[in-house]
């Protein structure tokens, strides 16, 4: 009961935040089957552990109060009791029974979530962790993007869960968007799996949950759950090569003649770098540097000029460009819708 109240309080606090923004990350406001199953299991576990807490905690408090030394005690020692096998047996067996119940409830959920069959309509994609950003690939759709994940909404009428394979290019990271699913680590040399079927369109946020180096805290995650129409439009847009307008030709020239293209790719151009985020549709993203700053012209200029000023320790070096070069490259990137 107590812990149910605790859960409610936490959920309530979180809801207050949710009213003003969609950046809620509470595990108590699930929007997808795995996170909802975990939420329901957590209420059961909270109820059981809360019950134990009330009973045993009550015993401790009662014993401490009831058997305290009083000023009018005669100073003699209380009766010495050395133990009782029956009592020991009872407080061994009862916990064992509780463990059995908890374990069965848990085991059922482990298999239900982890071994869920993959429906034919599922969207398959993969996430690759990098220090300190996310790469997302949709092999069947021929899309590569970064940091802002788009997946379709999944309804009972039109179930379209997302099945994600996860791995890492360098160290261990962990994909955690609390309202959609429990976290799964991205481990180099290993492929893990995660699925989610968000029921409501909108933005869901999260971040890397395994310490991965100096900028671990700024490895943020944004998941856009799109309506089927939005998602189809997004896919169509992403499949286009990077838009090239003559107006930004100077910026493109700088991009391709400086070291930018060693790390970044822009489809349809000579830039094929693999170490940094794919920038083909960079301008359509809301944030830059894996969520470290909003994607505005001013921030982008600052970022290109001196990445450490936004994300100290980021692996993108400052190229010591002139202000004109920075402006031109920024203008070019801003055209990459």
């Amino acid at each position: 009961m107590l812990s149910a109240a605790v859960a409610l309080a936490a959920a309530g606090a979180q809801r207050a935040v949710a009213l003003t923004s969609n950046t809620n990350t509470s595990i108590f406001s699930p929007e997808s089957t795995p996170s909802r199953s975990i939420y329901e299991l957590s209420l059961f576990v909270l109820a059981v552990t809360g019950g134990i807490f009330v009973v045993v905690g009550g015993l401790i408090v009662y014993a401490a109060v009831r058997f305290r030394e009083r000023p009018d005690d005669d100073g003699s020692e209380p009766p010495q009791i050395f133990g009782s096998n029956q009592i020991e047996l009872s407080w061994t067996i009862i916990p064992v029974l509780i463990v059995v119940v908890l374990f069965l409830a848990t085991a059922r959920m482990i298999f239900a979530i982890q071994d869920a069959p993959k429906p034919a309509a599922a969207l398959e994609m993969s996430a690759i962790g990098h220090q300190f950003w996310w790469e997302f690939r949709y092999p069947a759709l021929h899309i590569t993007t970064a940091n802002e994940l788009h997946i379709p909404v999944s309804t009972d009428a039109d179930p379209r869960p997302t099945f994600m394979k996860l791995t890492s290019a360098d160290v261990i990271h962990s994909f955690w968007v609390p309202r959609l699913a429990g976290k799964v680590d991205l481990v180099p040399n290993r492929i893990n799996e995660l699925w989610m079927d968000p029921h409501t369109p909108g933005l869901y946020v999260g971040q890397c949950a395994q310490f991965c180096g100096v900028e671990h805290a700024k490895m943020l995650l944004r998941v856009y759950v799109d309506t089927p129409e939005q998602f189809a439009a997004w896919v169509k847009q992403e499949q286009q090569p990077g838009a090239q307008s003559p107006a930004s030709a100077a910026g493109r020239r700088e991009f391709e003649s400086q070291a930018c293209m060693n790390c970044h790719a822009i489809a349809g151009t000579a830039a094929h770098g693999q170490f940094g985020p794919d920038l083909t549709h960079f301008a359509s993203r809301k944030t830059l540097a894996s969520g470290a700053a909003d994607n505005t012209t001013e921030n982008l200029e600052r970022w290109i000029e001196d990445p450490d000023s936004i994300k100290p320790g980021s692996l993108m070096p400052s190229m010591h460009l002139t202000p004109d070069q920075v402006r031109e490259i920024t203008a070019y990137l801003n055209t990459l819708q």
Binding site: S21, S37, Q80, F82, G83, P95, F111, V184, N189
Partner: protein
């Protein structure tokens, strides 16, 4: 029969410790070359208390940085060093040495021996441990080599591969971390061997294993567990160094090594390590709760059995730290079950302590206050542990502030509380003077309040999705206010610990003289002078029950009539 005669009174007739006119240098020399288990025990405790202050200061810096979103008190790099050093220090330079310090000081006294089985090994182990600590902290100036700017390890206290590979951790900071733990690990192994040998071979006449104080029993179990768990840690550190300098590929994922293998090695050490730390805290409660409840411990054999069971089961739970690394569903289910099972013997312990208090006459002196705080917090820590063992729930809560809250409930709420209890309880024995009860109560209440403000709040941050190890957080997540509260609680704890430090120093000079047996206790260490002479007991005591001093004080109703 020889042991019909109780010879404890004789052991009290000792000549007063000789106080020679020694110069400061002579006394210092005496402490450095000592092989006396009592002096080494005190050295261990002082060493740990020193590092408690250091690592506590690091924690406070961390909390200042997290006072509000996008704070700039510490840089990302310094923050990462501080939380790595805070964790490593608290576990290896505070938790382990202080508990082994108590074992060192108390076990020979409790079992009626004159010293540990191997006094020289004992001194050697202490100095290895001390050197390990020095090496770890030297990294602040030597981490990038003597010619560069120094830096401390910044890979987290569990140092997951491949973040520790040279590609991701250049310089020497990770080497300092690995070498310091290898060195102090050897010290720990030496002490564990010593405790096992002492318990098995140095007990006084009449003290069978079943009459040994529970403190000694638990330390015996802990030492056995230590021998099993430190070994894989040391092996892993050596493999890490081979990877870094000899071209090995154990954990080098770029060359086909496995990051998960490091986790297995680390946690097969790391999880039993929690029990290595918490069982000495149980051991302390086993001595203090009966004395201040004025009753014999309830269910002595069950307590011993539960300790052995915890040690055994704890060797099979390590992968509950790895529920998110992509183990199969069957493995996840197995480690869920084994982890939940630990709850059974720990539950038995809690029930036995409550039953010991039940029907007693509880004196609320400072040691008992800390022990009751321990009971309550350990109960909650156990229950949040059950929640984390539910692997689907762990997929949400793993590496979140909920986990931080959970293990600080164990490490601070249970272990540090009982360390304080133990210092208040045995300080009179070691120094001959009582700690101030008045300052002690201030210390207790402030620390209790600060503890709950900090760590209760952290659970909610975990529910709200805040991950650990982040040097700053986004203002739009709604974590600001709770982080502020957590930090305020941290500072209240800091003040409480300062009061404790004042108490330690002030009472050493001005405290009330303690006498031999200030708490009216029942184990053998209270049968000798305070502080005890170098030889502990003038003649070997002979005991007939688990509470020899009870028998002495109550000849009309001795324990040996009832014990079997």
């Amino acid at each position: 029969m020889a042991d019909q005669v109780l010879t404890i009174p004789d052991s009290l007739s000792v000549s007063p410790p000789q106080i020679a006119d020694e110069t400061f240098l002579e006394r210092l020399h005496g402490w450095v070359v000592t092989v006396d288990h009592k002096k080494l025990g005190i050295l261990y405790v002082l060493y740990s208390v020193f590092f408690l202050f250091v690592a506590g200061a690091e924690a406070l810096c961390i909390r200042i940085q997290l006072l509000r979103a996008h704070n700039h008190f510490l840089s990302a790099a310094v923050f990462n060093r501080f939380f790595t050093m805070h964790g490593t220090t608290m576990v290896f330079l505070v938790g382990m040495p202080i508990l082994f310090g108590f074992a060192n000081y108390l076990i020979p006294l409790m079992i009626g021996a004159r010293d540990m089985a191997f006094p020289r090994l004992n001194a050697f182990s202490f100095w290895l441990t001390a050197f390990g600590g020095l090496l770890l902290y030297f990294s602040f100036i030597g981490g990038f080599g003597l010619y560069g700017v120094g830096s401390a390890p910044d890979v987290g206290w569990f140092a997951y591969a491949p973040l520790t590979a040279r590609a991701f951790s250049p310089g020497h900071s990770t080497d300092y971390w690995a070498l310091a733990l290898i060195v102090s690990g050897f010290g720990t192994l030496g002490t564990a061997i010593n405790i096992i040998a002492t318990v098995l071979s140095m007990r006084c006449r009449g003290m069978t294993l079943w009459r040994m104080p529970l403190f000694a029993w638990l330390m015996f179990v802990v030492s056995g567990l230590t021998l099993i768990t430190i070994t894989p840690l040391t092996a892993a550190q050596i493999m890490l160094l081979i990877d870094r300098y000899l071209g090995g590929h154990f954990f080098d994922t770029q060359a086909g090594g496995s990051a998960v293998v490091w986790m297995h090695f680390f946690w097969i050490f790391g999880h039993p390590e929690v029990y290595v730390l918490v069982m000495p805290a149980f051991a302390i409660a086993n001595e203090i709760i009966p004395v201040f409840s004025r009753k014999a411990i309830f269910g002595y054999p069950a307590m011993v059995a539960a300790s052995a069971a915890i040690a055994f089961v704890s060797l099979g739970v390590w992968a509950h730290h790895m529920f998110t690394v992509g183990m199969t569903s069957v493995s996840n289910a197995f480690f869920t079950l084994s982890t939940m099972l630990v709850g059974v013997p720990t539950g038995i312990k809690i029930f036995n302590w409550v039953a010991t208090m039940w029907g007693g006459r509880i004196r609320f002196a400072t040691p008992m206050l800390f022990c009751i705080g321990f009971l309550f917090q350990f109960l909650l820590a156990g229950l949040t542990g059950i929640m984390l063992s539910v692997s689907p729930l762990d997929w949400q809560l793993h590496n979140s502030y909920f986990v931080i809250a959970h293990f600080h409930y164990v490490l601070v709420g249970a272990i540090v509380f009982n360390i304080f209890a133990a210092i208040y309880y045995w300080y009179p024995k070691a120094t001959g003077r009582m700690l101030s009860e008045r300052l002690g109560k201030w210390h207790f209440w402030l620390f209790l309040i600060g503890f709950h403000i900090t760590f209760d709040t952290m659970h909610f941050l975990g529910f709200m999705g805040m991950p650990r190890s982040i040097y700053t957080f986004e203002p739009d997540r709604g974590w600001d206010r709770l982080n502020m509260i957590v930090s305020i609680g941290g500072f209240i704890q800091g003040v409480a610990v300062l009061i404790f430090a004042v108490n330690l120093v002030w009472s050493y000079y001005r405290g009330q003289p303690a006498g031999d047996d200030p708490w009216d206790a029942w184990t053998l260490e209270w049968a000798t002078a305070s502080p005890p002479p170098e030889y502990n007991f003038a003649t070997e005591p002979v005991v007939r029950s688990r509470r020899p001093l009870w028998d002495l004080k109550h000849p009309e109703d001795p324990d040996w009539r009832y014990e079997q």
